[in-house]
Symmetry: C2
Subunit: 362 residues, 2 copies
């Protein structure tokens, strides 16, 4: 039996989502909102992994303002584990920084990269698969991920395509080789993917051993490997200015684009643990309990001839009469009423407000 891997979780909490406005704000992104449970999504993310990863092995990555919120929500992490992004530069720089930080402590530690704003309903299944993935990452020179079984031809997610052939098994969990990462497809392509089979949604969750990550960078992403060595040196120097300078030198791109899409040897387990990225208000309609007419509420409600509405209005009564397919979000200073299939347009509302200099509710 292999030794138990030294798992370090890196919780990515730097997202600045606008799609849950008016509940989410510039300074209060989705991960800091209790939209799927009584606790914030960030807290849920940490609670979920605690049986496998103790708090002393958990890190967060976010900007300085977000980190203040994180310290308040997650007061139990080691002081040095609240990693602050010197600036917003997408996920590649942040994960190079976090992995380098962990590499200094233990090059063979397994880094589990977890978004802080995803929903997982089958937490026990997830934990089991996470343990298996950590074992795979510890044992193999491979980057590990989860492929979400696609439930519809989404054009909002990237896909991974499995290579044909036998799966490797860790802790009885099959891991299949990933042949390619595919960018968000057209609707026609997405339909074809589902028909053909062998495709899964890119979950954005990754595991790697710190030294394997470095080796993959060196081989598949040399320009990022240079940054990696600069970051390592800067961290060793303990100079915040040097770390910031090294960080700023890394191209502002996603880790998917920087490494995952290019690297060989990616393995994926099936992410069949009730995953949702909770991309917009309407996605909560599948998560909150619904009444017989398909209405879902946070807060008291009274309904007359109304179907498939979603209303967030905690502490107040929401009365619906003769309306269908609406998203309604009421906050102390702003009320949103939106057609359910238009909830991706909420960010345009923020642009409109910003354009007219109306920053109060942003």
């Amino acid at each position: 039996m292999p030794p138990k891997p030294d798992i370090r979780a890196v919780i990515m909490a730097g997202g600045s989502g606008t799609r849950f406005w008016p509940l989410s704000r510039r300074k209060l992104a989705k991960q800091f909102l209790p939209i799927v449970a009584d606790r914030t999504m960030l807290e849920e993310t940490v609670r979920r992994i605690l049986p496998l990863v103790p708090a002393r092995r958990i890190y967060t990555v976010a900007n300085a303002a977000q980190t203040r919120t994180i310290r308040r929500l997650l007061p139990g992490l080691p002081e040095a584990h609240y990693l602050v992004e010197p600036e917003a530069r997408n996920t590649a720089p942040s994960l190079i920084l976090a992995t380098a930080r962990i590499h200094l402590e233990n090059p063979r530690a397994v880094v589990a990269v977890l978004p802080s704003d995803h929903l997982i309903t089958a937490g026990d299944v997830f934990l089991r698969k996470l343990a298996a993935a950590a074992e795979a990452a510890a044992a193999e020179d491979a980057l590990i991920t989860f492929g979400i079984p696609p439930s519809f031809p989404s054009t909002g997610y990237g896909y991974l395509r499995y290579r044909k052939g036998a799966a490797r098994t860790f802790r009885k969990e099959p891991f299949r080789a990933v042949e390619a990462f595919v960018e968000k497809p057209s609707y026609e392509k997405a339909v074809a993917f589902l028909k053909k089979g062998g495709y899964a949604w890119n979950s954005g969750m990754f595991l790697w051993r710190a030294d394997v990550f470095a080796a993959k960078l060196e081989r598949f992403a040399p320009e990022f490997f240079e940054a990696w060595t600069r970051i390592l040196a800067a961290l060793r120097s303990k100079s915040r200015a040097r770390v910031a300078a090294a960080f700023a030198s890394i191209p502002a791109t996603s880790i998917d684009y920087a490494l995952m899409e290019k690297a060989g040897g990616v393995l994926a387990a099936e992410g069949d643990f009730g995953w949702s990225d909770v991309g917009a208000w309407s996605s909560l309609a599948g998560i909150w309990p619904r009444d017989a007419d398909g209405n879902a509420f946070k807060g008291a409600s009274v309904v007359l001839d109304a179907r498939n509405n979603l209303a967030y209005n905690p502490g107040r009564l929401t009365a619906l009469v003769g309306v269908d397919d609406l998203v309604i979000v009421n906050t102390p200073d702003a009320l949103l009423v939106c057609r359910r299939d238009k909830d991706q347009s909420v960010k345009r509302i923020l642009e409109l407000l910003a354009a007219r200099g109306d920053s109060e509710c942003l």
Copy 2:
């Protein structure tokens, strides 16, 4: 030239409207809300007539709780003029009480009965017509009213049918004889009325000399005349209990049904002064200013692809995305989102809340 009539205005403020929920409540009816202007409809009603009827000649009729609100909103009336209905019994008992009260002071006084929750946009036209109507009431043995020129085949109003023939003129204002009062018609009948001509909406505003009112009761509504004499005697006795007993003995019906529909000699002037009874939220869409897409707001707004909505949300931002024809009303404890053509169903929401014992927001 005839002597100037002694006009007394009786402001009927006892209505318990439910159709402006959640802004209106059991204890806060439409007349106490600032829904068409910055002041409440009751205050607007009084302000409108002050150039013709000084405060010392204005009376209000409402129940005890409402009268407390009225005293606060209209502190300038004589103490004895806040007439309290011993119980809610529709308009006939209240107007018999009020007219009897005025009859004791001056039998030849002209009583102008004015609902407290109607909108009149052309206040100057209204005042001129009110003065003419008062002169007609002073001079004639007639009940006077205003017929509202119908702008659409409404099934929500009663109608009056004019008698053919020449109009009488007072202060250059023509008054036509009313042949009949017609109850709320079917849609087909309403269409026929408009096509045929000679019909007007019953405005619910009436003028009569106190002694003429008594004489009409005696002739056309003898059972109400008995009550009238009991009320007069009770008022003379100054016994509140006797007044309440006499009041309770009057059939709980409308003055329209008790007297107007039966009495001969009703004259009506054209009520072309921008009248609206503001019957429900959607009627405000014709009153509040609208944007180019037909949206009307109280409160700040931001709109994306949304048309013909009405939102009451003062002090907060309302954001609409992709929605049409909604009525949205946000209050500190309840939010209503209603299809505009269903706003008459709002009272059913109140029934649903009451039925489940949820009285907090009623």
